[in-house]
């Protein structure tokens, strides 16, 4: 059964179809979120993603484009979480407490905490994101552009940069 059929059935109000959508896309969504955040936040943010999906599903006008729509929501949830982390870290930076040194860049700090994804975590967030969407979630450049809300050319340049950074990182990585 295609995603489009499942979405249409779910939009009609069939709970079984909605459950199957969750079953089918739970792991890809979690994988994307996990590559952007650490494990604890990945579970939490995945739940937020699915809640937002369920609430917005009746308004999805193009059921055939479910995947990019889903990852747009996932990206928004991840961005919101990173932004909240960044704001919190910025506040701490102004506070002359013991955490000043580690709070210089919350996003980088979060990247560092994502130690399980050893290679990917070395990349900046924007480059890591397009790598995850393009290679791991197997979305097209156009779909990545739609999800990241940037032109396709920007996605290509981020991919090029990500590949270069990845190569440099791999070369310097102990074997």
């Amino acid at each position: 059964m295609t995603d489009e059929l499942l979405v249409v059935r779910a939009q009609l109000g069939e709970r079984a179809a909605l459950a199957e959508l969750v079953e089918r896309w739970r792991l890809p969504v979690w994988t994307y979120v996990r590559r952007m955040l650490d494990a604890e936040r990945a579970d939490d943010v995945s739940q937020e993603v699915w809640l937002a999906v369920v609430r917005s599903l009746p308004r999805l006008r193009e059921p055939g484009r479910f995947a990019p729509w889903l990852f747009t929501i996932a990206r928004r949830s991840v961005t919101d979480r990173l932004r909240a982390e960044y704001a919190r870290a910025a506040e701490q930076a102004h506070d002359p407490g013991p955490d000043v040194a580690v709070a210089e860049d919350a996003i980088e700090a979060m990247t560092d905490r994502a130690e399980l994804v050893a290679v990917l975590s070395g990349l900046p967030v924007l480059e890591r994101e397009v790598l995850v969407l393009f290679y791991l979630e197997e979305l097209s450049v156009a779909e990545c552009a739609q999800i990241c809300q940037v032109p396709a050319g920007t996605v290509k340049s981020r991919l090029n940069r990500a590949r270069r950074l990845l190569r440099e990182h791999m070369e310097g990585y102990p074997r």
Binding site: T2, E4, L5, V8, R9, A10, Q11, L12, G13, R15, L18, A19, V22, E23, R26, L27, W30, R34, A39, A42, D43, S46, Q47, W50, L51, V54, R55, S56, L57, P58, P63, L116, V117
Partner: protein, 158 residues
């Protein structure tokens, strides 16, 4: 990376249950419809009161109208932001809204007729609300029909 999400699919669906609960959806629709209907009814009574009213009565009518509008606003917020209304839910909600609009408009018109004041205004306002409810009903049916048509196309049914 051999990590797995902490929640299984079944657990995830279980966590989504509150948002999908039929009771919650029904409560959201009822809050919206009853709030609007109550506001219309109270305003109708207020406008058609024969003779001058004491200040305290005006205050009570005003408060009642505000309370009803607050419920309508809360229901509207639930329906548009918090509770998903799927195609079949929208059809049911539109029928509820139409029934509520018809009965409230009729009640206000009857009261206005008996009191001999404000009949024209109550008919116009009631008529407008019924038209809005009818439009929602037609749109809800059209949306469900379009989805059913697409479902048949995708499953190859004729």
């Amino acid at each position: 990376m051999n990590e797995e999400p902490e929640l299984s699919a079944a657990e995830m669906i279980e966590r989504l249950e509150p948002a999908l609960s039929p009771g919650r959806r029904a409560r959201a629709v009822v809050a919206l419809v009853a709030g609007l209907g109550g506001a219309l009814f109270t305003t109708g009574l207020w406008w058609t009161e024969p003779g001058p009213l004491p200040g305290r009565t005006h205050l009570v009518f005003g408060l009642l109208t505000v309370i009803c509008l607050a419920w309508a606003g809360y229901g509207g917020w639930l329906v548009t932001r918090r509770v998903p209304l799927f195609a079949s839910d929208r059809v049911a909600a539109a029928w509820i809204a139409l029934a509520a609009c018809l009965s409230t408009s009729a009640a206000v018109a009857v009261i206005a007729g008996q009191r001999g004041s404000g009949l024209g205004v109550s008919l116009v306002v009631g008529g407008l609300l019924v038209v809005v409810a009818l439009t929602l009903l037609v749109r809800a049916h059209a949306r469900r029909a379009a989805l059913l048509r697409r479902k048949r196309e995708l499953t190859g049914e004729v």
